[in-house]
Amino acid sequence: MSFTFTDDQRQLADSVARYLADKYGFDARNRIRNGEGGWSREVWAEFADLGWLALPIAEEHGGLGGSTVDLALMMEAFGKALVVEPFIATIVLGAETVARADPARATEMLPSVAAGEHLLALAHSEPTSRYDLDRVATMATESDEGWILDGSKAVVLHGDCADTLIVSARTGGRDDEREGVSLFVVPGDAEGLKKRAYPTIDGMRGADIELDGVRVGSDALLGPLGGAVEIVEAVVDRACVALAAEAVGAMAATVDLTTEYLKTRTQFGKPLGSFQVLQHRAVEMLSETQFAHALCYRTAGLMDTSSGIERARAASAVKAEVGRAGKTVGEEAIQLHGGMGMTDEMAVGHYFKRLRLIDVTFGNAGHHLSRFVQLG
């Protein structure tokens, strides 16, 4: 065992952190999220140039073949900077789904994704499925030319801007059956596809999507017929680790901001940080962050070699942990900032919102605790 980062990994983390410190400060980030589309195509192109979009993609699919630990290091830095670009939607979810479902298609599709020229989104969850990955009601009906898709997809991350949507739909089975769900490659501007786009409360973008008789060719089927749930589960397990790393970054930044505030804000003639009741609460926040960090990287280290229940249980453990810890750290940070914590102008509230939204993405702490129990 070697619970430590390689030199390459340290360099990667340093270079991402340096770039973001330089180009993606809190003010710059706010300009970007308030600008057209809610994120920056210029920044995205730079991510591509720096090789960050290619890093998690396999070499045979035009990427750099980075590990989950590499991905986590990037996500941690993104969490510290509150990056709003569609990295999770396109790379962590979209590219990974294509790669797992259909390696041949990935060789075709992913080089342009790695180059930053093509955006993806995973349209899987539905208005009543909440966090159940096997609950899919959207229907795919076979036609002469291919497939006709009908149904609704809920809170599709960066579904508003995706050039291509990966849509899950039933080709067989009941609404809550594991078997019978298939994946389809659907152009973002397909006829019959209605997007209701919105900003999310944490500064990202999302869309609810209606599929009303969307016709796609027979080549739109991605991966094995009826075998999508297993693929999506694997993608989401890894995404949980990526989100955990992002949360760990956001938690660390939140602790730093709070500590700084406690040192500088004075009341009763002394810095807030001199009050023991506040010191202990700040230490709790730091402790949550330390343990979440250690668990996150240990899980990331396991992801590339484990599968099945082992992988699922590890992913649920870390997602449950950062969901709970992130909420605690965020809520405490607002309280320790007092009235200032309630203002939009302070960064701390933005970290808090991201932490809470990470929790409700792909299963909150309660959901993953239950899953951890069931898999036990």
Partner: protein
């Protein structure tokens, strides 16, 4: 980042497992497993077996009789011992006073004390806390006054764990009342057979008698039993505290306890079903299991920092707080698992010498409520969890 054991580490684990299977006395393992108190004889018997193998002192340098293990090997060893039901090695000699003697003692002290610690021929206890000095240890008042080539010691030590078995006690005593109070403290080794020492048990709320008051009345201690310089005792004591690094987390012990808990929760019924299937109970159990995974992850990270020679920093304080919360959470779930059978008080059912009658309720029952009550100590001893937070606020956050 490589988070699984290497083939060499796996081989070491197997070697430890084989040794334990071969040499850990079955009667001792059974006592540990069923929550019986372990007698002095049992402790010493097991520790002598470890000594014979050369494994009694994982933290000692090789020249003094340590096995020369990496931090990871020590961790594996601790975990395997706990899972096999080996009693904890009593830390006061081998893990606590010995490093201080090695670092600050003179050659005569090393020659006199270290071999008998290694062989478990001397049983040590720790004389730090006093009735008026708990978290504020530097306020201690037990006085040592020089008299020729002796100190005359008067005062009272308290919470002295297993002092009733002890041959020796390492103590902090006051040799000066002027200047900074930390600078008036001296580190003395006291023979427990000295005239003027009396040991009185303190019964704890679970009914056990593992801690004591130690009274010192005109106890004559040869100056040659002083460690280092007069007035430097506080520095030596701090070195000792920094020495217990990752073992404080007790990951192996909690893993063994978790395994035991799951076994009990599978047979105890609630609503006609095993309580482990009760959603509320199962989720609390799962939360502790995840906490334990987090704890183990930070322990592993710390072990690597240590093996790479990087400073460990404040991690032990994080580990102490989280580790004790987990230990207490496990004892809570253990007590709850037996429901109303937490009530019958049957200390004879788990006393050192054994008991050949049927207990009221399940066999594993009588020890569980006392365990829960006893284990509240964990967040108080070794620097209370609040003191750990003070340390972290100062050292890490700079508050």
């Amino acid at each position: 980042m490589d988070v699984v054991l290497s083939p060499e580490e796996e081989a070491f684990r197997q070697e430890v497992r084989d040794f334990l299977k071969d040499r850990l006395p079955a009667d001792i393992a059974e006592k540990t497993d069923s929550g019986f108190r372990i007698s002095k004889d049992d402790h010493v018997r097991w520790q002598k077996i470890l000594h014979e193998k050369g494994w009694i002192a994982p933290n000692w340098p090789v020249e003094h009789g340590g096995p020369g293990w990496t931090p990871m090997q020590k961790h594996i060893f601790d975990e395997e011992c706990a899972l096999a039901g080996a009693p904890m090695v009593i830390p006061f000699g081998v893990a606590m006073v010995a490093p201080v003697i090695m670092k600050f003692g003179n050659d005569a002290q090393k020659a006199r004390f270290l071999p008998r610690i290694l062989s478990s021929d001397d049983w040590w206890c720790q004389g730090y806390s006093e009735p008026g000095s708990g978290s504020d240890l530097a306020s201690l008042r037990t006085k040592a006054v020089p008299d020729g080539d002796h100190y005359v010691v008067n005062g009272q030590k308290t919470w002295t764990t297993l002092a009733q078995h002890a041959d020796w006690m390492f103590t902090l005593v006051r040799t000066s009342d002027t200047g900074k109070r930390q600078e008036g403290i001296t580190f003395l080794l006291i023979d427990m057979k000295s005239p003027g020492i009396s040991v009185h048990p303190i019964t704890t709320l679970d009914g056990s008698a593992e801690i004591n008051s130690v009274f010192l009345e005109d106890v004559r201690v040869p100056v040659e039993n002083r460690i280092g310089e007069e007035g430097k005792g506080w520095t030596y004591a701090k070195y000792l505290l920094g020495h217990e690094r990752t073992t404080i987390a007790a990951v192996g012990r909690s893993k063994a306890q978790l395994r035991k808990l799951k076994g009990i929760a599978k047979v105890e019924l609630s609503g006609g079903r095993p309580i482990i299937e009760d959603p509320d109970y199962a989720r609390r159990l799962a939360q502790i299991e995840i906490d334990l995974l987090s704890l183990e992850s930070l322990v592993l990270r710390t072990l690597y920092a240590e093996s790479e020679g990087r400073p460990v920093g404040a991690e032990p304080s994080f580990l102490k707080i989280k580790g004790t919360q987990i230990q207490q959470g496990l004892t809570d779930l253990l007590m709850e698992a037996i429901g109303p059978y937490a009530a019958p008080y049957q200390p004879e059912a788990f006393r050192e010498e054994g008991w050949n009658q049927e207990p009221v309720g399940p066999d594993y029952g009588p020890a569980l409520a006392p365990l829960y009550f006893n284990w509240r100590k964990a967040s108080i001893y070794g620097g209370s969890n609040e003191i750990q937070k003070n340390i972290l606020a100062k050292m890490v956050l700079g508050l």
